[in-house]
């Protein structure tokens, strides 16, 4: 099957739209800029949650044989990555499920801040958002290393995994700029 599927296109569009919102928000001043970055954060985390759900579904279908949800052959494929019992889980928990929970936590912080920019706890939540996002980076680096060097027939690139990795990097950037706005008095 083709590597480019409608869900993948939808996720890529989500990443591009979120990136646009992030750049626009970063360059805007005051509350408008803060809200722009928060909207971008919601976009990245939404792509993260949905992309993780999709990879979890691929994981489940591959346990029962081949999956029609992602290519299983070629350089860009999921078979040797999500379908490999050696690499497709974290202590027995599928990476997709780990991703859903992690991005849901990020989504909660973003939504809380977005709903009340001036609450007493907002400043603390901006820090938490940054640290939670940053905590995902070593896992992303590890999984990219696995894809490129360790899976059967490496290198392979799992397209949905890559979308999720980019979403996380986008979240790190968003939370970094949110902290910057707060610390420089540009929050509102």
């Amino acid at each position: 099957m083709s590597s480019i599927t409608p869900p993948l296109i939808a996720f890529i569009v989500g990443i591009l739209a979120s990136s646009y919102l992030l750049i626009k928000g970063k360059n805007s001043s005051g509350e408008e800029g803060t809200l722009g970055i928060l909207n971008a954060s919601m976009g990245f985390s939404a792509v993260g949650i949905m992309g993780s759900g999709w990879t979890w579904a691929i994981h489940n279908s591959m346990i029962m044989g081949s999956s029609s949800m992602c290519a299983t052959e070629g350089l860009v494929q999921c078979g040797s990555v999500i379908g490999d019992p050696q690499w497709n889980n974290l202590f027995g928990i599928p990476w997709g499920l780990v991703g859903i929970v992690s991005f849901a936590l990020i989504w909660f912080f973003v939504l809380s801040i977005r709903m009340d920019l001036h609450a007493k706890w907002t400043s603390g939540y901006v820090d938490l958002l940054f640290y939670v996002s940053l905590a995902g980076v070593p896992f992303v680096l590890w999984l990219v290393l696995v894809e490129l060097t360790m899976v059967d027939g490496a290198p392979h690139i799992c397209p949905y995994c890559t979308v999720i990795h980019i979403a996380l990097i986008g979240m790190v950037a968003c939370s970094y700029f949110l902290r910057q706005k707060r610390d420089t008095g540009m929050w509102s």
Binding site: I49, W56, A57, N60, G65, P85, S112, L117, D152
Partner: protein, 227 residues
């Protein structure tokens, strides 16, 4: 004298929005999980009968060096219960386990009877008990029945193992990761898998407490038949 009033900072909302945010997050997470499960139901994976057998990738010795072996690569995913695809006999051993030493002969006999209809796979673990230290040389010698002193709790030369040389893959599980993924704590253990990897017979269920006592040859006869 006029008093200068400090500029009022923006104030947060009176109600705590975090409860609403948490409920919204839980709702979205539940929705994503539900859609994922509808798209691809969560498979039952484990050593119990009726479940999909836990898959593994490891190095295997088949008589000519070690190479990568993935159990599921050998499945017939299109098996419909009536084709001639091969079944699987999964055996967990430790080359130092006395019961595994004895079972070597039974495995040789079973292979001579069912080897054309059943793919035999032996997983060599390394139990964490004294005198159960093994290595790949010992696993090779155990399989091939060649001279290497250290089998059977370091009491015997592997060339003296009961039975004939085993003509099927031996999987290296020196880290016990496969043993653990199957939920096992000891050896020997055997299971029969259908050609698509579904567990059809689990030794512990039949020969453990409350089991019906069916042994491996009886199970092979019942499931694979033809002997």
């Amino acid at each position: 004298m006029a008093r200068r009033r400090a500029k009022a900072l923006p104030k947060g909302k009176d109600e705590d929005v975090r409860t609403v945010a948490m409920l919204a997050t839980a709702g979205i997470m539940s929705l994503v999980v539900a859609i994922s499960v509808i798209l691809a139901p969560i498979p039952q994976v484990g050593p119990d009968e009726g479940n999909q057998a836990p898959d593994f990738v490891s190095e295997a010795y088949s008589g000519f060096g070690w190479s990568e072996y993935r159990l599921s690569d050998n499945y017939d995913w299109d098996w419909n219960g009536s084709s001639d695809s091969n079944w699987f006999l999964i055996q967990f051993i430790d080359t130092d386990c006395p019961y595994c030493w004895i079972e070597g002969e039974e495995m040789s006999q079973l292979h001579s009877q069912w080897g054309d209809k059943v793919n035999f796979v032996t997983i060599a673990a390394q139990l964490n008990i004294p005198n159960h230290d093994s290595n790949r040389d010992e696993v090779e010698a155990f399989r091939d029945k060649t001279s290497y002193f250290g089998c059977n709790s370091d009491r015997d030369d592997c060339i003296d193992r009961p039975g004939t040389p085993h003509d099927w893959p031996y999987i290296d599980d020196g880290t016990n990761s496969i043993l653990e993924s199957w939920g096992l704590s000891g050896t020997p253990f055997t299971a029969i898998l259908e050609p698509d990897g579904t567990v059809a017979w689990n030794k512990n269920k039949h020969q453990g407490e409350g089991g019906d006592g069916e042994d491996l040859p009886e199970a092979l006869q019942r499931l694979v038949g033809g002997q």
